[in-house]
């Protein structure tokens, strides 16, 4: 009996030991590839490169891959390029096993792991050789931030961000707005196009529209709008950001004033009662909708998809953003190409446009994997992704899709413009690759390229009016505008609306990685708030609302929200100072 027990113990320890050995052996961590860094631009060998990131798409499922843009890249660098989609799980696994793609895109969660585990190549070493675009003068502010805040040593840079806005860029508002107060154009026109300057005006307009359109042609009930529940609190704070002039940090528990760049806790607002934060503005708005009977009773169970379905069926009168129109506009136009039945967007107080991403997009960091068998080539390709040439290709198509006119200014060809909306040329459009890999470009859409045209030629002033639908043209006629987006332009000029031109969104990058216990507190607070929403939105009187709010505040305090507020406020102060210093 004892012998058997001893055998058992032996077996267990041997197993554990074998496992540990296997584990240590494979968790490559800091092992670098054995070859020496040559920093050569020798392109004679054809290699396979993969580009992976959270939120990217698998190239195998992209129609038209390799697109014209990608083919150009492949030829230029003698590679075969593939894109790979990661999620948190698979990225963690690949990092643990040292099997990541050659170029990787991560968000803030993984930065410390990548740095400590030495998974990234120091791009600074290639400054004068293979990485000229990354280290160009225009990228200086971005690079300083990467070297100061997203690095582990002096003068080392591991990451680059996409879509860097150069200092002298001026943006326009596109043809149509994509955020604000959504209305049905035909109904809005019918009620006389009342001025909508704030949420109360909006609710009045919605009420009026509902009166003339109480149900759809198919007999389905009509509501003003609903909420989407698969993005946590986004549906509330985003609405509020538009109404109050803030931008949200990740998760929306903290917001940044778009004009003063001050940080405010969005939900736990006891320290700044005089400020109506986006979350409370949004929740109060939904509460008012509820009291007026305009809110979809399914608002707590609807996911984005179901939301789009209801929009397609025409069951909603309003909304916040133009990616929730469903297929309504397309379907109506298919029935009657001159229909006025379309959703359009009017401006709110904040036009989420004219963003100045001086340090690039937040939360997307590209690096070259130190485990890659082709580090040099990968650096070259990453550098090319950051270049003006590639950004122009992605946004406007390769040369040929746009040409230089007689005045020397580049313009999209008529063929390209018509191809975009021509359903019969869909395959050709996909092959052209306009818009694919849009997350990887180094330059912002509005930057002026060296040939005098914007990176994204679709935003050139003379192209903007070309894509208007009949309803949008009618809107311009009725409201005496050139473009539907001029509604925002007028308001900004009059001072009743703002855009993001003064918002320094790079401050976020100056913050340290959030420590685990603060992350836990924030995530708990988010959950607690989610659960409190039904009582808030469905409060029948103001007293009920305030009482539900007070209960929520107490619960948050119990979850440690004060510690979180302290960490974020202190962190923000030093980040703000640091970033503003770098700016000088």
């Amino acid at each position: 009996m004892r012998k058997r027990k001893a055998a058992l113990v032996l077996l267990c320890s041997v197993t554990l030991a074998a496992g540990l050995l296997a584990g240590c052996g494979s968790d490559t961590g800091g092992k670098k590839s054995a070859k020496t860094d040559k920093k050569t631009d020798d392109l004679s060998k054809h290699v396979d490169l993969t580009l992976g990131g959270i939120g990217m798409t698998d190239s195998d499922s992209i129609d038209g891959w390799p697109t014209e843009v990608v083919e150009k890249l492949e030829k230029k660098f003698n590679v075969t390029l593939k894109e790979k989609q990661y999620d948190n799980e698979s990225l963690n696994l690949d990092l643990s096993g040292g099997t990541t793609t050659d170029i990787v895109m991560i968000n803030d969660d993984h930065i410390s792991g990548v740095l400590k585990g030495k998974h990234a190549v120091n791009l600074e070493e290639y400054k004068d050789t293979l990485a000229k675009n990354i280290f160009s003068d225009n990228m200086e502010f971005r690079n300083k931030i990467m070297q100061t805040y997203k690095s582990d040593g002096d003068n080392k840079q591991f990451f680059v961000t996409p879509r860097v806005t150069f200092g002298d860029t001026t943006a326009n508002y596109g043809t149509v707005l994509n955020n604000g107060y959504v209305v049905r154009w035909d109904l809005y026109k019918q009620i006389g196009c009342p001025e909508i300057d704030n949420d109360d005006d909006y609710i009045d307009a919605l009420k009026a529209m509902k009166e003339i359109y109480p149900e759809t042609e198919d007999g389905l009930p009509v509501y003003a709008m609903s909420a989407y529940n698969d993005s946590q609190l986004h549906t509330y704070f985003y609405k509020g950001c538009l109404a109050e002039g803030f931008i949200n940090l990740e998760g929306g528990i903290y917001v940044q004033n778009a004009q003063t760049n001050e940080l405010y806790p969005d939900i736990y607002d006891v320290d700044n009662p005089e400020v109506l934060t986006p979350f409370w503005s949004g929740v109060k708005f939904y509460n008012n909708l509820y009291k007026e009977g305009l809110l979809d009773p399914d608002c707590f169970i609807t996911k984005t998809e179901d939301l789009n379905e209801k929009y397609t069926k025409g069951q909603y009168l309003g909304g916040n953003v133009n990616w929730h129109y469903g297929k309504y506009n397309d379907n109506q136009r298919a029935l009657d190409s001159e229909t006025l039945k379309e959703y359009v967007t009017l401006p709110a107080k904040l036009g989420w446009a004219n963003e100045k991403n001086l340090a690039g997009w937040f939360g997307k960091y590209f690096f070259v994997s130190s485990h890659s068998p082709n580090v040099d080539r990968a650096v070259m390709v990453l550098d090319y992704l950051q270049s003006e040439e590639f950004s122009r290709d992605v946004d406007s198509g390769v040369e040929g899709r746009w040409e230089k006119g007689e005045d020397g200014k580049p313009d999209l060809t008529e063929d390209t413009i018509s191809m975009k909306t021509d359903g019969s040329r869909l395959d050709e459009w996909k092959k052209a690759g306009i818009g694919t890999l849009g997350d990887t470009c180094g330059e912002d859409y509005y930057n002026i390229a060296s040939d005098g045209g914007r990176i994204d030629l679709w935003f050139e002033d003379d192209v903007l009016p070309k894509s208007m639908t009949f309803a949008e043209k009618d809107m311009c006629q009725t409201l005496e505008l050139n473009l539907p987006s001029d509604t925002l332009k007028k308001k900004v000029e009059a001072g009743t609306s703002i855009d993001l031109g003064n918002c320094l969104n790079a401050i976020q990058m100056g913050m340290e990685t959030t420590p685990k216990d603060i992350v836990r507190i924030d995530s708990n607070c988010e959950e607690i708030t989610m659960n409190a929403i039904p009582n808030l939105v469905q409060a029948k009187t103001d007293e009920e609302f305030e009482s539900a709010k007070a209960d929520l505040m107490k619960e948050l305090e119990g979850a440690g929200v004060k510690d979180s507020v302290k960490w974020w406020s202190d962190g923000w102060e030093s980040a703000k100072k640091g970033i503003e210093e770098l700016r000088k």
Binding site: R4, L8, G19, A22, G23, G25, S26, D27, T50, G55, D60, S61, D63, K84, D87, E89, S90, N92, L93, S96, G97, T99, N107, R163, N178, N179, D218, Y228, D230, S231, Q232, H234, I247, N248, L249, E250, G251, K303, T304, E305, N308, E309, T312, K313, V321, N322, W323, H324, K327, N331, W352, W361, F362, G363, G435, G438, D439, Y445, N505
Partner: protein, 303 residues
């Protein structure tokens, strides 16, 4: 075989009547949602979006199916799923039934210990990352055999088979042993034929498990389009909307969002893949069914 007939009493007739009604209702509840999915897939996508079908397809159209068959890698995924189901089921059924038999043998040294060793695997797990590292160190990443080997020995199925075999009359095995048969011979000539119901059941369980599995694809063979399974294809479509919603939550960048949202495949595609993924099972099912629905095939074979 002269059967003693039991008198059909009135209470028996009442019972049978209600039984029929009850079972029919249950079946209906089970069928209708699937029927809804099927008629949805045969409806014109444009119409179904706005006005979903109730009993018959609205605007009969094969567009959904055409789209799926033209999907990149669809047929290859079907092939891979089929291959792993066939090989995996064969391997697993042989291994599990053999082990199920062996564990009934008291004369196995350390039987209790080994049996418990096996059953514990149902309740412990090392976690995803360590499993990944281990699989990688065995060289099974991006390798077809990662679909077969880890799932081959299933404690649950072994327990089922062991329980069944234990209930077989021992005289059958004894007489075979007296004739000098070894364990393997006894297993193949005596036990297996008698255990057809449970082996068929386990085969169905394992086959469906293989056919439906996508998680190992997701973790171990992602990089390799040659090894994509049908269910993983379906999983990607099913979760597009969810993944996008998560992205929206975490981003303050709106550019391109409307393009992303509109590029999510319509509901019809998801329903179609569901139908196509479930269909093969129902084509094979009737062949297995006769083994465990009594009356279709006589159960125990005596002597």
């Amino acid at each position: 075989m002269k059967k003693n007939k039991i008198k059909t009493t009135p209470s028996r007739k009442v019972f049978q009547f209600f039984n029929y009604i009850f079972l029919l209702m249950v079946t209906l509840i089970c069928i209708y949602p699937f029927w809804y999915i099927i008629i949805y897939t045969f409806s014109d996508p444009g119409i179904a979006d706005v006005n979903p079908p109730v009993l018959i397809p609205r605007g009969f159209s094969l567009k959904n199916y055409k789209d799926i068959f033209e999907l990149k890698g669809f047929f290859h995924a079907v092939f891979i799923s089929g291959l792993r189901t066939v090989i995996g089921t064969a391997a697993s059924v042989v291994a599990c039934s053999f082990l199920g038999y062996l564990f009934t043998k008291d004369e196995m040294p350390g039987r209790k210990f080994l049996y418990r060793f096996l059953i514990m695997t149902m309740y412990i797990s090392g976690g995803m990352i360590s499993t990944y590292i281990v699989i990688k160190s065995y060289g099974l990443l991006n390798n077809f055999w990662v679909y077969i080997l880890p799932m081959m020995i299933s404690a649950y199925n072994i327990v089922l088979i062991k329980t069944f075999v234990e209930q077989l009359p021992p005289s059958l095995e004894e007489s075979a042993r007296l004739d000098g048969a070894g364990y393997i011979t006894v297993f193949t000539k005596v036990i297996m034929p008698l255990s057809k119901p449970i082996i068929a059941t386990v085969a169905v369980f394992v086959a469906v498990g293989h056919w439906n599995s996508w998680f190992d694809n997701h973790i171990y063979t992602r990089g390799n389009p040659q090894l994509t399974t049908l269910q993983y294809l379906l999983y990607n479509y099913l979760n597009e909307a969810q993944r996008l919603a998560e992205q929206i939550k975490n981003t303050s960048n709106l550019n391109g969002l409307s393009q992303m949202v509109s590029s999510i495949s319509p509901k019809g595609i998801r329903m179609t893949i569901t139908v196509l993924a479930a269909l093969p099972i129902f084509m094979v099912y009737p062949f297995m069914q006769k083994y465990f629905v009594k009356g279709i095939m006589v159960g125990a074979v005596k002597g």
